[in-house]
């Protein structure tokens, strides 16, 4: 559906609602301590290793536990199923497990479950979908009833990041019996919530795990029951939210979120996420003889765009400008790099120096958030660069990039919520198709950082890489993305930058 018509319709809904404000909605949810939520996604399976969507991660964090928990506010690692852990050497980790945990089906949690889960998911024959979550694991060994050792293929400093949220532990006996297909429909974990009903593509019912172990870093949930519904149309979700059929939705388009701020019973939070946007410029001339081969041209692009204005006015909420090729909280990310302030005159001067006093024309690619692309196009036009927008489906953009057709692209990266620079910078400067810089020095630094567990060495090489990326203007980092959450005023809910809502931390006011 067209965005404009959606905007009008949501406006009409708000107007209709306010017109009849006298008819106060009945908040059925609060009295029975049930939270009604919705998202647009239809999950293929509730087996976290066989779904790729963010919503799969949300379900996972509620019904399963990982060995480690990452505090969403302080980013600190805390014990969860593992009481403690230590690095034995570069490629070996040892975990001491809790002995007081049971799965939702009554199965006792012990070292066998951890060993089974890790050996199952790291076995390539089992075709786990998000390879990066598991590909660093060689295998796991049982050292005692509540003690395991995880062997890595090679040194992998971000291991804890993955162990804290992306590697849920499954009950070995039950999983072996029902397989992924059965498990995906009737999942069993140790988490704060258990699943009591799955109507695939329609609804998932979560109920509080009354036997959840005390002392868990996630804590005992306050809300008894969560009913999730899949509603593909945002306008419909908004209508349900207005009438009390839903209490919480997210990923609401900004213009609609703005309208919903007028609603007396709803609150809108436009929270920053780890997703950042950036322009990639063909610095090596893969597309032929492009102006972007010249440093001054790349710097001119960086100076031409008022990123602050777009971030503030168009993205809105908690969005902020980023200067380095990473999300600020990520391990290894620094802000102390060359900054390109908004200065169209300087941009024009740089272009003239590079031999383009009258600018040039270029195809400008992208795959999402077209309005931001339009704003950038406007700024580029002001300094003489005529950017023709070509917005494609992601897979088509990927094909075009691979075929060396893309000289200028607006890309984004969400890092899967992983708070380590290896998940973003390392993914884009590896001499692969999406590496627009092909700078051996940068690649080497990043490679070094990605396989070392020496934190000081890592910080050092990442800083070098980020500084060079900024100096050379290989990327024009833009700003952070926001996610719009709209929910009942009666709900106490806090969004976090990894954009994984945690309802086990929520409660009714």
């Amino acid at each position: 559906m067209k965005k404009n018509s959606q905007y009008l319709l949501v406006g009409a809904m708000v107007a209709a609602f306010l017109l009849l404000a006298a008819l106060q909605p009945v908040w059925a949810a609060k009295s029975d301590n049930t939270l009604n939520i919705a998202w647009t996604k239809e999950l293929e399976s509730l087996d976290r290793y066989y779904n790729t969507a963010r919503e799969g991660m949300i379900v996972s964090r509620h019904i399963y536990d990982d060995l480690v928990y990452r505090d969403p506010v302080t980013w600190e690692y805390k014990p969860l199923l593992a009481k403690s852990w230590k690095w034995v050497n570069d490629t070996t980790m040892e975990f001491e497990l809790r002995d007081d945990v049971v799965f939702h089906n009554g199965e006792k949690f012990d070292a066998d479950d951890v060993v089974y889960t890790f050996n199952f998911v790291s076995n390539p024959d089992n075709k786990v979908l998000v390879l990066r979550n598991v590909s660093w694991i060689k295998d796991a060994e049982k050292l005692g009833p509540y003690k395991v050792q995880v062997n890595l293929k090679e040194p992998f400093p971000a291991a804890l990041e993955y162990l804290a949220g992306n590697l849920p532990i499954y009950p070995n006996e039950y999983y072996a019996k029902v397989g992924s297909e059965g498990f995906g429909l009737k999942p069993v974990g140790t988490g704060p919530y258990k699943i009591t009903e799955v109507d695939q593509g329609k609804r998932i019912v979560f109920e509080k795990n009354e036997k959840y172990y005390s002392g868990s870093a996630k804590g005992m949930p306050a809300i008894d029951k969560i009913i999730q519904r899949t509603i593909p149309e945002v306008t419909t979700m908004v209508a349900e939210l207005m009438t009390g059929g839903l209490d919480w939705i997210y990923l609401v388009p900004t213009d609609q979120a703005e309208q919903l701020e007028k609603m007396p019973n709803l609150q809108v939070v436009r929270a920053e996420t780890m997703r950042i946007g950036f322009l990639q410029l063909d610095a090596t001339g893969r597309t032929g003889d492009t102006p972007f081969k010249k440093l001054q041209v790349r710097q001119a692009v960086a100076h031409a765009i008022d990123r602050e204005a777009i971030s503030k006015n168009l993205v809105g909420g908690q969005s902020r400008v980023v200067n380095a090729a990473c999300y600020p909280s990520q391990f290894g990310c620094i802000d102390d790099v060359t900054k390109y302030e908004f200065d169209p005159a300087k941009a024009k001067k740089l272009l003239a120096e590079a031999g383009y006093p009258d600018g040039f024309e270029v195809d400008f690619y992208g795959y999402r958030d077209r309005p931001y692309g339009e704003a950038i196009t406007g700024y580029l036009r002001d300094v003489g660069i005529k950017a023709n927008m070509k917005w494609l489906k992601y897979s088509a953009l990927r094909d075009a990039t691979k075929a060396d057709k893309v000289a200028l692209v607006m890309n984004t990266w969400g890092s899967y919520g992983v708070n380590d620079i290896s998940n973003i910078t390392g993914q884009h400067f590896r001499m692969e198709y999406n590496d627009f810089a092909r700078d051996k020095e940068v690649t080497d630094w990043l490679n070094k950082g990605d396989v070392s567990i020496d934190t000081e060495l890592r910080k050092d090489v990442y800083a070098k890489a980020l500084k060079k990326i900024a100096d050379e203007a290989y990327w024009v980092p833009l700003f952070t993305w926001v996610s719009n959450y709209v929910f009942s005023k009666d709900l106490d809910f806090t969004p976090h930058p990894d954009a994984v809502p945690r309802f086990f931390l929520s409660s009714w006011k």
Binding site: L9, K127, V130, Q200, S395, R398, Y433
Partner: protein, 305 residues
């Protein structure tokens, strides 16, 4: 008659094969299925891994023959997305779409047939114009817009009916109206013109001359004859509603076949899309085949041609 039936049957099968072949090729050329399955943030290795796992690296014709062979045996493969048999998933969703289609069709008949009859009794009067306007609006207004208007009025303002979902019969009322209204114009106009023809015929005049009551003439004599072409139109409309309820299903969050088809396209779930396209086209093929046979049975001239 037997030769004719066999000929028609062969033709129908040919249509089915052609449709499946064309959709297969179009789907494969629309983008890299491995990239679509792996998701936007996947690495190159992840994409390559999926490509090999699902056989997307094989030549297209091999992939098609492989699929076609299994489909003939009733095995449409596993959904690339759900990892479960395609027929199992479609089966569950088909019931909802059928229910919605049946409700919508009922609504369309209840609205369109009386309107058509009224318009035919008083041609070129304000009643006729009003009936025509109602049906023209149905055709002109996009169904998503109409659906949302219904939602605002009956869901938000009046709070009479649930807004979305499919758990009770009440949930089907708004979507059935939104979907059925779109089919109204065609049914209404065919009823009207059929009634106009019949009302002018000799036997109606005779019936009236006998002094039968107007209502009896209208419904017992006229409508029963005028409705025959409408019935065959309804079969086609029903087929349309099964395949074309996508927008309505999306808006009202009714997870039926239309929505499943749409989502499967964006997920590049090829086995699923293939099966749905084949199912919907087979539905039409079967309906056309049956109506061909019926026509031939009624009208011997068609058989001889």
């Amino acid at each position: 008659m037997i030769t004719y039936t066999v000929k028609r049957l062969l033709l129908a099968m040919l249509v089915a094969i052609t449709v499946s072949f064309i959709t297969f090729m179009l789907l494969r050329s629309s983008g890299d299925p491995a990239v679509a399955m792996a998701g936007p943030d996947a690495t190159t290795e992840e994409v390559e891994f999926i490509r090999v796992q699902y056989g997307f690296d094989q030549p297209l014709i091999v992939q098609y023959l492989d699929w076609g062979g299994r489909a003939l045996r009733g095995d449409f493969g596993k959904s690339a997305y759900f990892k479960r048999p395609v027929e199992e998933i479609i089966g569950g969703r088909l019931r909802i779409t059928m229910t919605l289609g049946a409700c919508a069709l009922t609504f369309a008949i209840l609205l369109a047939v009386p309107l058509g009859v009224l318009a035919a009794i008083r041609p070129n009067t304000w009643i006729d114009r009003l009936a025509l306007s109602i049906s023209v609006i149905g055709q002109a207004m996009p169904s998503f817009f109409f659906g949302l208007i219904l939602m605002i009025v009956f869901g938000i303002m009046l709070r009479w009916l649930p807004i979305s979902g499919s758990s009770t019969w009440k949930h089907f009322i708004l979507p059935a109206i939104a979907l059925g209204y779109y089919a109204t114009p065609a049914i209404m106009r065919l009823t009207r013109s059929g009634m106009l023809d019949v009302l002018e015929s000799d036997y109606i005049r005779t019936a009236r001359a006998k002094g039968l009551r107007a209502g009896s003439v209208l419904f017992k004599h006229a409508l029963r004859n005028a409705i025959i072409p409408v019935v065959s139109l309804l079969a086609v409309q029903f087929g349309f509603m099964l395949g074309g309820s996508l927008v309505i299903e999306t808006i009202f969050a009714i997870n039926g076949v239309g929505f499943l088809g749409y989502e499967s396209i964006s997920r590049a779930d090829l086995p699923m899309v293939q099966a749905i396209v084949l199912m919907v086209s087979m539905f039409y093929v079967v309906l056309t085949f049956l109506s061909d046979l019926l026509n031939a049975f009624l009208d011997p001239r068609i058989r001889v041609k």
